[in-house]
């Protein structure tokens, strides 16, 4: 890949963070997974074929790094030394949290399907492979998940943009 890596970070950093957060829920865990994703990606970057769909590739890397974080978390709950040294505003009072609490409330299958398909842009077949499911089940879970989020959005005070019905069926 000959694209300057910093341009890839700027372009895809937000989407990768959404996927990490939707998969891991805890903002600090998501930040760890995001960092590990881009560090792995930087290592592989010069050898990556120029035709690669960079966002989809980063989402697949993020999926593996998120699983690493989950494994680490289950081995050593709350490792104090890995806490971020800055105050995260995520979840704090007054922070615009959008639909994050609605995402957290989704059943896991729906949440992962929404994460990889709607937030990461992966096709249903690939999402199924990553989550050990079938394309049909993932399609259903993603649609149910997005429908639930749209109901959440209706009751949300100040949405920046409305979820369009077409968005659910793409």
């Amino acid at each position: 890949m000959r694209e300057p890596f910093e341009q890839a970070v700027a372009r895809h950093g937000p989407a990768v963070m959404r996927v990490c957060r939707a998969v891991l829920l805890d903002p600090a865990d998501a930040e760890d997974a995001w960092s590990e994703t881009f560090l792995s990606a930087l290592r592989a970057w010069p050898e990556l074929p120029a035709s690669t769909n960079v966002e989809a590739w980063l989402v697949r890397v993020a999926q593996r790094r998120a699983i690493d974080v989950i494994r680490r978390r289950s081995r050593a709950p709350l490792p104090v030394e890995s806490l971020p040294e800055w105050a995260s505003t995520a979840g704090g009072p007054g922070a615009d949290e959008g639909l994050w609490s609605e995402v957290a409330a989704l059943p896991e299958k729906q949440r992962l399907a929404v994460a990889y398909h709607y937030l990461g842009g992966l096709p249903h077949a690939e999402t199924a492979e990553l989550t050990g499911s079938t394309p049909a089940a993932v399609r259903r879970a993603a649609a149910d998940g997005v429908a639930a989020l749209r109901r959440g959005l209706a009751g949300h005070p100040a949405p920046s943009r409305a979820l369009s019905p077409e968005g659910a069926d793409r």
Binding site: R2, P46, G98
Partner: protein, 201 residues
């Protein structure tokens, strides 16, 4: 290939300050693991924003905004390495010397340079240019003669126009034979600004 849903993404905010912090941490860790081949930052200056890029060996590129920072970085990615990250701290020294220069407090640069973007006659000319003292000027023909190729003034012009390290390698001190400024990678106005600064500081 489908892409992420823009409406759903908009309803799930990501704090830009957190991403900025994480990007800075990424550059730090990349540096520790020898994965940061090119560090970049931008600085403001009297000739507009400048992009600075450095390898482990030294400053490799200075660019004016009119060159298009994205285009410049794409060239650096192709010719040096695509492992490029914003890492302002790596360029603190260069930023400080440029600031002193623009304030009229510095007459020469004391920075390690990486000439990876130049070769051949152009490199020869670019390596000669710092010997033109602060505040003085030579013509393209005079520079050609000084590098031992008196008939190569046109090639000297090309070497100046393709100087990857303007300001620090002072191609702005090379003028047309009639004393008019001639072209400049940062635009004629920038060249005049630099020459005026050096005449009056």
């Amino acid at each position: 290939m489908t892409t992420a849903d823009p409406d759903l993404s908009a309803a799930l905010p990501v704090d830009p300050a957190v991403l900025e912090h994480l990007s800075a941490r990424l550059a730090e860790r990349a540096g520790q693991e020898q994965l940061l081949d090119v560090a970049t930052r931008t600085v403001d200056s009297p000739v507009g924003p400048l992009l600075l890029a450095a390898t482990e060996r030294g400053l490799v590129r200075i660019a004016f905004e009119r060159e298009g920072f994205d285009t410049v970085l794409e060239t650096v990615a192709t010719k040096v390495s695509p492992r490029i990250l914003r890492a302002p701290a790596r360029l603190d020294g260069a930023a400080r010397e440029l600031e002193e220069y623009f304030a009229g407090r510095r007459r020469g640069f004391d920075l390690p340079l990486d000439h990876a973007l130049s070769r051949g006659f152009r490199l020869e000319v670019q390596e000669f240019l710092p010997s033109i003292g602060y505040g003085s000027t030579l013509s393209y023909g005079q520079v050609a003669a000084q590098v031992g190729n008196p008939r190569a003034s046109r090639a000297v012009g090309t070497a100046c126009a393709t100087n990857p390290l303007p300001i620090v390698i002072p191609c702005h001190r090379v003028l047309r034979g009639d004393g008019s400024p001639g072209g400049y990678v940062g635009g004629t106005d920038a060249k005049t600004t630099l020459l005026t600064l050096e005449r009056t500081a």
